[in-house]
């Protein structure tokens, strides 16, 4: 069965600092991987996704993520955090088919200090 682990429940960074959110997955085949962001009271917004090809993927709002098969990881990074990035971030794995359920990590809450 597929699973996702986000080891950090809560991360606090200063505005302008770099950010890395960790995600480890378990999946038997080539995974489809996603990062979503959720602001308070809002739904989930897709930041970026990985299906195949280049292991470094670029997303919206200046985020990027790197797929590392050897480490079963898909960590999210941003070189300089803005106060508006404060939100909850979810990593998810999907099946290797055209559709199917997503399995989400527990989420990481990001707090940004001015």
């Amino acid at each position: 069965a597929q699973s996702v682990t986000q080891p950090d429940i809560h991360i606090t960074v200063s505005e302008g600092a770099s950010l890395e959110l960790r995600c480890n997955y378990s999946y038997g085949a080539t995974p489809y991987l996603f990062w979503y962001v959720q602001s308070p009271g809002q739904g989930l917004q897709l930041l970026l996704k990985y299906f195949s090809g280049d292991t470094l993927v670029q997303g919206i709002k200046g985020f990027e993520a790197e797929f590392k098969r050897s480490q079963s990881s898909f960590n999210l990074r941003k070189p300089s955090v803005h106060w508006s990035d404060a939100a909850e971030y979810f990593c998810a794995v999907g099946p290797g088919t055209s559709y199917g359920k997503l399995t989400f990590g527990q989420g990481t809450i990001l707090t940004v200090h001015p």
Binding site: G43, K49, S98, G105
Partner: protein
């Protein structure tokens, strides 16, 4: 274009009552999903529909939960005899259902509170 919409945005009900939650997917999307987000359980898959195929109901927590999708578009999630543990945010998502790069787009959710 319009995104996924859900109604109501908030629902407060009494224990034992039935509730219906509605989801309007993105036009043209053939796949529709329901998830539940609660403090103790995180984001959990409930059910999904793809075209005319039988729905995958494997995530429904009990037989009090059911969902239907009419005309391949709008979906309704029904919870009968609600319990306090049903309190959560119910999220709907849709996707094109085609191609290996299929991506789910989420609605704003319905916050259900069972008193």
């Amino acid at each position: 274009g319009a995104g996924v919409s859900q109604s109501p945005s908030n629902k407060v009900t009494e224990k034992g009552k039935d509730v219906e939650l509605r989801c309007d997917p993105i036009s043209g999307h053939t796949a529709l999903y329901w998830y539940r987000q609660s403090l103790g359980q995180g984001l959990e898959f409930l059910i999904y529909f793809q075209g005319n195929s039988a729905p995958d109901k494997s995530g429904l927590p009990s037989d009090r939960f059911s969902a239907e999708r009419t005309g391949g578009s709008v979906s309704t999630l029904t919870i009968q005899r609600t319990q306090q543990e049903d309190s959560a945010v119910y999220l709907c998502a849709s996707s094109s259902g085609q191609g290996r790069s299929d991506t789910q787009y989420f609605g704003p959710g319905t916050r259900l509170t069972v008193l």
